[in-house]
């Protein structure tokens, strides 16, 4: 078997490899001779940077985890302005952060090929929302490709680099969770030699983007997009499968196309329905869309998640003589759900309804399915056993009970800390978007809310977008305590490094930015660092901070338990387990460790009516020993 590093750097044209879409995009960047790749972690696209980091040094590519998506786009696109090829990678909400520069890049344009990869999450399974990045391509008026498979992802990303260089416009590639995390066989192409040294040419008529320059460049951008339409038409994209007698047409893209094509095959509809696979989400293939509108009686538009193509088709239909175009079905008329991820099942059942072709029925009666659904025990998200956040938020929870109103407003943020909102801790109140907690806390304070106010934020999130709202809190003297939960990693997205770690994306040691230094430099007067695994110390630190009249910061430091676990595994060292001394455990009368604290390694032994600790999960963090006031929990002896 060929290791991934070899596949990524292989020059053997025509070699076939099994790659995940994210890996195929990484390979495409290599084939394009990319020079600079930036990104910020986020599911579903994190693996692109992680893959490129494996070979960055050997190929001479600058690969970095940027501080946030906006910084990432600014770096890569400016390298492309200097003429080398650049790529930046983010999840859908990252594009919100990067959108400020995105909107200007179409005006300045670039010189080297510049590709922006954005991973959407229909259904919002691993995000704060579902959001359709195709709308961004339309708003920024920049071309966007949408692959359905790993092979297409490679081909289209490569095309995107070439087209970008031709048009001098950045190009977007959009994937969705299901596409990003699917794997398939990919045929490798040649690795291009691209420019490796950037040049800076001063040109205020392009790069000083304001008033008359912006106006002139906006005109230029529109001309470029006209050219884009012509070029895209000449390339063999957006395949249309249309035969004369077909009364029903399907328009689909991305993962939705996969479901549609599968349903066409499974229902044997090849001869009955025409199919348009849309690969350029912007600009859309008007000609083919019109042809399909003219040739069929009904059209079903299958897309995630907004009815973008559907509305566009409706608009195009006004250009056709009345009564000479298909009726359009989709999200607007309720043929397909307006929100959430699509699935094969949803798509196939709509096809079945529209064509009258029955689906092969699954013989199992629904009672059996129902009984199974009822019996399956939940296996939801939780904080890991020994997570430092458990210590921090248990301390905060205990402190809240001691306050006058018995309550602390604890505005949360994105990341593992959000899991402290779940039972039994139930401590974090909210979660909106990266870095929001701090300014939200200030908002509550200025609104005169009569409660102690805390903003809880992770370390990576603090660097991403927590610094500016902290400056705001200092300048306006907001009486809030900012609790920075420093677990020495960007945990939730898979443990990527961040500026506070001192390690680069490629594993090299770098200059480390100390959170405490940053906070002090901003002018926060009350700053304390506490050990997340010491509940009493953390409790006291937050208590003191809340009493400070003005913004205060508590940095709760404790290493992510997953990292502790991995390192132990690497060293081959066994982690000792804590134990419950059952003779001291008060059993059902107490259960504080399970009902209030909730480290997942602490289990309830129904037979003995006492708590116990599952040794395979425990990392010996010692938190629970402090939680049990009867001193029933302590370190175990080595086994």
């Amino acid at each position: 078997m060929v290791p991934l590093e070899r596949t990524l750097t292989a020059s053997a044209v025509g070699e076939r490899a099994l790659l995940m879409t994210n890996q195929a995009i990484a390979r495409a960047a290599i084939e394009a001779g990319v020079k600079i790749v930036t990104g910020y972690p986020g599911t579903p696209t994190s693996e692109i940077i992680e893959t490129l980091a494996l070979v960055a040094d050997s190929l001479g590519i600058h690969v970095e985890w940027a501080v946030n998506e906006k910084v990432g786009l600014e770096i890569a696109s400016t390298a492309a302005i200097a003429g080398v090829r650049g790529m930046t990678v983010m999840k859908h909400v990252g594009l919100n952060v990067a959108s400020d520069i995105l909107m200007v890049l179409g005006l300045s344009g670039v010189n080297g090929g510049m590709v922006i990869v954005v991973g959407d999450d229909p259904g919002g399974w691993v995000s704060q929302n579902e959001q359709d990045s195709r709308l961004f391509a339309r708003m920024a008026d920049l071309p966007m490709f949408e692959p359905s498979t790993p092979q297409e992802a490679l081909r289209m990303t490569l095309r995107a680099f070439e087209l970008s260089e031709r048009l001098k416009l950045p190009i977007l590639v959009r994937t969705t969770l299901k596409v990003s995390h699917s794997s398939g066989i990919v045929t490798l192409g040649p690795i291009a030699k691209s420019k490796t040294k950037g040049e800076y040419v001063k040109d205020t008529s392009r790069y000083y983007v304001a008033d008359v320059v912006a106006q002139a460049r906006h005109e230029w951008q529109h001309k470029q997009m006209q050219q884009a339409r012509a070029i895209l038409k000449s390339l063999n994209l957006n395949p249309l499968y249309l035969k004369k007698s077909q009364k029903l047409g399907i328009v689909a893209s991305g993962a939705a196309y996969n479901y549609a094509a599968e349903a066409v095959r499974n229902l044997n509809l090849q001869h009955k329905v025409a199919l348009l696979k849309v690969e350029t989400s912007h600009p859309l293939p008007d000609d083919k869309m019109k042809k399909l509108l003219r040739s069929t009686k009904e059209l079903l538009v299958v897309e995630e998640t907004e009815p973008l193509m559907e509305d566009h088709l409706r608009m195009l239909s006004y250009e056709l003589p009345q009564g000479h175009h298909a009726i359009i079905h989709g999200k607007r008329d309720g043929a397909l759900p307006e929100t959430n991820e699509l699935s094969y099942e949803i798509v196939a059942s709509r096809f079945s309804r529209l064509t009258g072709v029955r689906q092969r029925q699954n013989k199992v009666e629904s009672d059996a399915r129902l009984a199974i659904a009822e019996a399956v025990p939940p296996r939801g998200w939780t904080l890991c056993a020994g997570c430092p956040h458990i210590g921090t938020f248990y301390a905060l929870k205990m402190l809240a009970r001691k306050t006058t109103k018995g309550r602390i407003a604890n505005l949360g943020d994105i990341g593992c800390i959000g899991l402290a909102a779940l039972p039994p801790l139930e401590n974090v109140d909210s979660s909106f978007c990266m870095g929001s907690s701090i300014a939200q806390a200030s908002g509550l304070a200025y609104a005169g809310v009569d409660l102690p106010i805390v903003a809880s934020i992770g370390d990576s999130t603090f660097f991403h977008s927590g610094i500016t709202p902290l400056i705001d809190a200092v300048v306006n003297n907001a009486h809030v305590c900012i609790l920075i939960c420093d677990n020495e990693t960007t945990a939730m997205t898979g443990h990527q490094p961040h500026p506070g770690i001192g390690v680069s994306a490629t594993g090299k040691s770098t200059r480390k930015v100390e959170i405490e230094d940053v906070v002090r430099a901003i002018g926060v007067e009350h700053v304390e660092t506490t050990n997340s695994f010491d509940i009493i110390e953390t409790y006291r630190a937050i208590d003191r901070a809340l009493k400070h009249d003005g913004p205060s910061v508590v940095i709760s430091k404790g290493r992510c338990a997953e990292i502790t676990r991995r390192e132990a595994r690497k060293l081959g060292a066994a982690l000792l387990s804590f134990v419950v001394h059952s003779e001291k455990c008060k059993g059902a009368a107490c259960m504080v460790c399970i009902r209030e604290f909730g480290c997942p390694a602490i289990i309830w032994n129904g037979a003995s009516g006492k708590a116990a600790i599952e040794p395979s999960l425990c990392v010996s963090c010692g938190l629970c020993a402090d939680v049990c006031v009867f001193r029933a929990i302590g370190p175990g002896l080595s086994s």
Binding site: S182, S183, A261, R369, V376, H495, W604
Partner: protein, 211 residues
């Protein structure tokens, strides 16, 4: 190939090595010139979430197996067999490891874990081709409890449903696991094969075992 297409769903819990299994099967298919697609759901970084891989051999369009279409369900954990059972075709092959991994909800008493009898009963309503066995025990016997995934792969291979030879699978295993782990993984794979053949009462000759 038994049929021109083979859909497999691998159910497990984070850390059980689902992804390695789909990789082994995928690389074997690649070497055997069989088209394939894999779709994986691996939640966030936390341990213990449900993980599912869909492996589709032969020409397919969606990487996700439609409900009721999988010819085989390989469950590394019994409750996960239930959770992913909607993908299994009526009377499809179901191989289930009987060692439960309790979820936090269960451990803390907020939910109950069904007994193995209940699980067996429920699954047998979906298929008669159900084999539940102690893959965990065999993994321990092989020398490493973490090789449950390979025990299950061996069992699947013994069912002769995969469109490639045992030897090809063994080669993929050897090239995909760290070199110091090859022996124990191959042993787990073989123990899984034998266990399944015993279960279905086909005593293999030793040569057939290694074919």
């Amino acid at each position: 190939m038994v049929r021109d297409r083979f859909d497999l769903v691998i159910a497990g819990v984070g850390g059980q090595g689902n992804l390695l299994l789909s990789r082994i099967i995928g690389e074997t298919a690649l070497r055997s010139n069989i088209d394939l697609q894999i779709s994986e759901t691996f939640g966030a970084a936390q341990r213990g979430a449900a993980v599912v891989s869909h492996v589709r051999l032969g020409k397919s369009y969606s990487p996700v197996v439609p409900f009721g279409m999988a010819q085989a369900l390989l469950a590394l954990e019994p409750a996960e067999a239930l959770r992913q059972s909607r993908f299994l075709a009526p009377d499809g092959l179901a191989l289930v490891n009987i060692k439960p991994i309790m979820s936090v909800e269960v451990l803390s008493g907020r939910a109950t874990y069904p007994s193995l009898e209940v699980i067996r009963n429920l699954l047998s309503k979906l298929t008669s081709d159900l084999h539940m066995f102690d893959a965990q025990g065999l993994a321990v016997e092989a020398g490493d409890p973490r090789t449950v995934n390979l025990v299950m792969l061996g069992a699947l291979d013994a069912c002769s449903v995969l469109p490639f030879r045992t030897e090809n699978l063994r080669n993929s295993i050897s090239s995909l696991v760290p070199s110091n782990m090859i022996e124990v993984n191959l042993k787990a794979f073989d123990l899984g094969r034998v266990a399944l053949l015993r279960l279905v009462k086909l005593e293999p000759s030793d040569s057939a075992l290694l074919s």
